[in-house]
Amino acid sequence: MAQSGTAQPQEAHQQKQPQKTLKAKIAGMTCASCEVLIERKLRKLPGISGVHVSHARGEAELTCTTEPSIQELNDALKEQGYAVTALEDNEAGTYETGRQETNEPGPAAKTGNSSTLISRKKELVEIGKVFFIIVALFIILRRLDIIPGFGISEGMGYGIVFLIGLVAAVSTCMAVTGGLLLALSAKYRERYPNLTGIQRFRPHLFFNIGRIASYTLLGAAVGALGSVLTLSPRLTGIITIIASVAMVVIGLQMLRIFPFLSRLSLKMPKALAHRVYDSHGNQHPLAPFLFGAATFFFPCGFTQALQLYVLSTGSALTGGLTMLIFSLGTLPGLLSIGALSSALRGAWQRDFLRAAAVIVVLLGVFNIGNGLTLAGASVALGSTLTGGGTGAGGSVALANGVQVVEMSVRSLDYEPAEFTITQGIPVEWRIDGRGAVGCAQVLSVPSLGITEYLPPDSIKTIRFTPNKPGTITFSCSMGMAGPGRFIVVPGKKNTDTGVQLAAAENDNLLPASGEVQRLQMEVSRERGFFPNSFTVKKGIPVELEIDAKIQLGGCMGTLLVPKYNVAHAIPLGKSTLRFTPTKAGVVPFTCSMGSRMGEFVVV
């Protein structure tokens, strides 16, 4: 009965217990080998007749005749680097550690502040705190408008491209690429807990080398081929969803809130796993390299916008150089994740892993919302997070039989993002898009077939009449901003007609004169936008018939003529863009993120 000097309250029921089952919480287990190893070690202890260890739950079930103390268990496992953090009486069903944990400094507490006996409850509270802090930071950062409105335009210097990279790495690209990188590096740490900082940093190095190499080469390819290597919005959405679900699962695994998730680990087929990991004991450098290379195709607004810019330059050299400099610009942001995750040790390491896990889960949930919006599902999942606390919904004023709805766009946020309107009464939707950046400059309401450009200098008014109760969602052209929504409640009178779309105020389309300038443009993988320069006469309506041979992805799905506030969604096949030039000069047309695709020369 080797009771050490530590306080143990079980003297009362310790005598003459024939068999007893106990649960011990064990920290430091990573795999099945740990289970076997611990089982072997604990079985050797006197009085213990059966041991069953689960690394997924981080606990061991002990069947014993004499109850061992935490100290004894720790002594048996210390050499292998595991720490027993709590001992639970299975029959009583409660954690005995809860009451006494503060006066029991175990051997694993050498890192200081935390007591060895972390009960599950306490752990959850801690995770809750981390969660709260990160959500608060997130909301504050969004409020401060950290995403500056960079215009991507022709002739911008490489210095600007570098700056865009810097910003991208801490904003939109961080959401997907950074999040996944964080998740994988944290997982890598768990798998190889004994690596030195340098060894941990190695995969990050390969990741970034891969990223830079692929950006440069593919950038040059895009420039040379003059075609886009982006994927359709639907596919982008699906990839986003898959990556995000993986992020949420990995994050929750790291938090160990749901033990069953550990069993659901993302395992590679064994043959592949052996090749990637085990043949060298360490992770093969090719794996992070390829992962880095694949980020070229990851959904990130800035990356896509630059790919389109590169496309418009039509030069392999400019293309390669631009993407090279952009990826170099993202280097500080992404490398700092690597450096941070490699350098931390001890108590910091645990806190880092926990914070990383929470961030990964949040980004995952946020991205799933984006992905769903893009993939076409009208689920307002992200809005609870991104709506910036305007959950109450916007005010709707009724004037002259019209429901007037006012909304403003700030960077990528709709404020407010939710309105309740009445069925059958015309809606006048006044949108202040002066603060909109990037793709938020184009508003898309899929269910009404509305795609509108929000001019940077005035208020846009869109009119429609909701004809049936339900939800109408809207977002930016890439699904990054929003979604916001109208909740249509049943009205007193039913209108019989479908959705009536009045032309928006700013669009002075098709004057009565019969004369029209008809132009044609083809969009194909081989030639991009071809031709992309047109000469038109002023004062006569222009009809540009666009024949899209390929499905256009991301911001490319929408063509803008910013000077005339025209936004045109490009479907697969033929569609027509209309506007009337009123002044002589050059009228550029761009993608929805402002990247120049071509021009009309008005004479």
């Binding site: 287990m29 990573t30 795999c31 099945a32 080998s33 740990c34 076997v36 190893l37 072997r40 070690k41 292998q80 680097g81 798998r191 190889y192 807990p193 004994n194 064994k270 052996h274 990991y277 085990d278 043949s279 060298h280 004991g281 360490n282």
Partner: protein, 75 residues
């Protein structure tokens, strides 16, 4: 005391990926009759076994492979 002839055998164990694997395999090997020492490098899988001349290699191999997803290669 009779002098027992000692031998060293190296082999490669595939599937070792962490320090626990190393600890586990070493622990098990050392308990086998005839094995006096065992060192595993989990990164490369290279394993050095010190043992008496008469050692049932088949049994050793079986023991190791039964511990998990390991594969003993070489002798």
């Amino acid at each position: 005391m009779e002098e027992v002839e000692r031998m060293k055998t190296t082999m490669t164990i595939k599937g070792t990926h962490c320090a626990s694997c190393k600890a586990l395999i070493e622990d098990v090997c050392k308990e086998l009759d005839g094995v006096t020492g065992c060192t595993v490098d989990y990164k490369t899988g290279k394993t050095l076994i010190e043992h008496d001349k008469e050692l049932d290699m088949k049994r050793l191999k079986k023991e190791i492979e039964s511990l998990g997803d390991y594969k003993v290669e070489g002798k």
